[in-house]
């Protein structure tokens, strides 16, 4: 059983909702990302999403955009992200890792070469923000061949007929976008999220993770009440940026600790939800 399937099966049997954390590989530093990922697991992450930095991250809000810019300035590359995943796997064989990025760096690397290198490094799935089902055939074939899950986004604007098309292609889990907008933006409408998740569930048995706009324990708790997992990204990066702004001498360990502390409080918020 894949790591993703095993993780969602375990969560289901425990009656808990999963927590997915997102950070950008190479931010705050390339050498610290592996340690950051381990700390996020300790703080309660069930699935790790690792952002692949891109020069033009069109779906990201300001917080994650700046993370991409810092990572690129630090010299992070797609190969560098794969190396980080491989290094993380030395000490953690269980926690699923999803890479999230944009088509061009992967296309440049080569779809088949990427799939092979990803499987070798211990990657479990891929979200390519700008590869909707219409453009996904080539990479999908490459990922399937090495049993990597291709994970699709479904947004509040996706019509029901299209949801059907997407879930038929999807593997691993469905990423339900909570708000119309970029990452980290907007006010979450819990009722709308509940309607969208219900619509998705009527068409697939795959687990549904909800992301975009989940900032704290309260918004996570509201989403966890209806979804299988909650994705938190911008808020973690923002926590690391803020501590560096407040304490210019803050060490990288302190910055990691700030993200981990926020994730832990979100985990506790979710676990206190009446489910």
């Amino acid at each position: 059983m894949s790591r993703l399937n095993a993780t969602f099966a375990r969560l289901r049997s425990e009656g808990r909702q999963g927590l997915v954390s997102y950070v950008v590989a190479g931010d705050p530093s390339p050498s610290g990302t592996v340690e950051l990922l381990h700390q996020l697991v300790v703080a309660g992450a069930d699935v790790l999403e690792v952002g692949v930095p891109f020069s033009d991250p069109m779906a990201e809000g300001a917080v994650i955009q700046k993370g991409h810019e810092r990572a690129l300035a630090n010299g992070m590359s797609l190969q560098g992200v794969l190396d980080i995943v491989a290094a993380f796997r030395q000490a953690d064989q269980h926690t699923p890792i999803i890479m999230m990025g944009y088509a061009n760096p992967i296309e440049r690397f080569g779809y088949e070469a990427f799939a092979a290198a990803g499987a070798e490094a211990g990657v479990d799935g891929l979200i390519t923000v700008d590869l909707p089902p219409e453009e996904v055939d080539a990479i999908d074939a490459a990922l399937k061949a090495v049993e990597l899950d291709n994970i699709f986004l479904i947004s509040p604007t996706t019509p029901a007929s299209r949801i059907q098309t997407i879930v038929e292609r999807a593997r691993g889990f469905i990423y339900c976008v909570a708000v119309k907008g970029v990452t980290g933006s907007g006010q979450l409408d819990a009722a709308e999220v509940a309607r969208n998740v219900a619509l998705i569930r009527s068409k697939t048995a795959l687990p549904v993770a909800v992301g975009f706009g989940i900032k704290d324990a309260d918004s996570a708790r509201a989403v966890a009440a209806v979804a299988d997992a909650v994705v938190v990204g911008s808020a973690l990066i923002d926590a690391m940026v803020r501590i560096a702004e407040q304490e210019p001498m803050a060490s990288e360990d302190q910055r990691h600790a700030a993200a981990a502390a926020l994730l832990k409080s979100i985990r506790e918020g979710m676990d206190s939800s009446p489910s």
């Binding site: 033009d56 069109m58 061009n104 296309e107 909707p132 453009e135 299209r162 976008v177 119309k180």
Partner: protein, 406 residues
Amino acid sequence: MTIDITPELFASVPDAHGRFGPFGGKFVAETLMSALSDLEALYARLKDDAAFQREFDADLAHYVGRPSPLYEASRLSDAIGGGRIYLKREDLNHTGAHKVNNTIGQALLAKHMGKRRVIAETGAGQHGVATATVAARLGLECHVFMGEEDIRRQSLNVYRMKLLGAEVVPVTSGSRTLKDAMNEALRDWVTNVDDTFYIIGTVAGPHPYPMLVRDFQSVIGREARVQSLAQAGKLPAGLVACVGGGSNAIGLFHPFLQDAEVAMYGVEAGGKGLETGAHAAPLSMGSPGVLHGNRTYLMQDDDGQILDTHSVSAGLDYPGVGPEHAWLKDIGRVNYVAANDDEALAAFHRLTRVEGIMPALETAHAMAYAERLAADMSPDEHIIVNLSGRGDKDILTVAAIEGIEV
């Protein structure tokens, strides 16, 4: 690539997926897919609708001032001493550039979709001004995204947009130029997709934009074809246009694609010289990749990151190009060449002094190449250059380069 060039070939693109051969497509986040499908469906219905076409043509005639003249630049042609140079005077359109042809068309689509708010990206500011203009005319809220660097070098157009009631939103991410403005416009659209129409200014972006912008701009080539036959008695030996995203070039070229005897030259921004790397010439020097919703030629590094570009003209300062140009390059129908900053500046001055026509710096790239081309032709041949915009907006840039305080 060997491909049989038949008239049917050019009518066959884009296909139902928005592809021009391997280029084009719809590489966007899921949230936008539904808006693109709606636009595609609306346009499929309206493009052959007589009432819609009448409305578009009437606006072009009475608001834009079409047809634009085809002017024989006699003194310039005499001075060069080769083929005759004709200028398709898009600079005489309302707002001073070809951009308004497209914004008129897209604003009509926005109106049909009942959108109350339009957004646009702009580099040189010409598309921003053309969008702000149609928004003012239709009473639509208008936000124009513009890189901070471009706001600095195109301050006159920034003020024009503000006078027209648009909000100019400075973009501070990345290289702070056109590509970043397009990222920011896409982000706004994702956020406000329910009430907002994104008026893309060039033949790039996700399907159906490259197709519909081409269709709206093709009025340039349709007129030029008729005018060439009437005024010169035959089709031109060559067409020349500058290429940033490529909307004025595709507008001129498209109605001539089936005329095998008409050679075509798209002129990219050579910047400080193609050999320096400081340019904006993806067709000349780039490689295929995915950016801003389509697969096309891009300036990118070995890791697939998009490179910063350089051009003296803000409107050409873009690392990608419309997917139809990428395809026309690969099938060998259009020649893509480059003119550098210095050549463009020299051509700017020459046209201004010899013909009394001050071209935009973007357009000056096409003029620079046209002069070279005409020099090797005989006087019984002629070429048409798309004089895509006027140069008033650039006089502060030119003055600064020459160390003159205005």
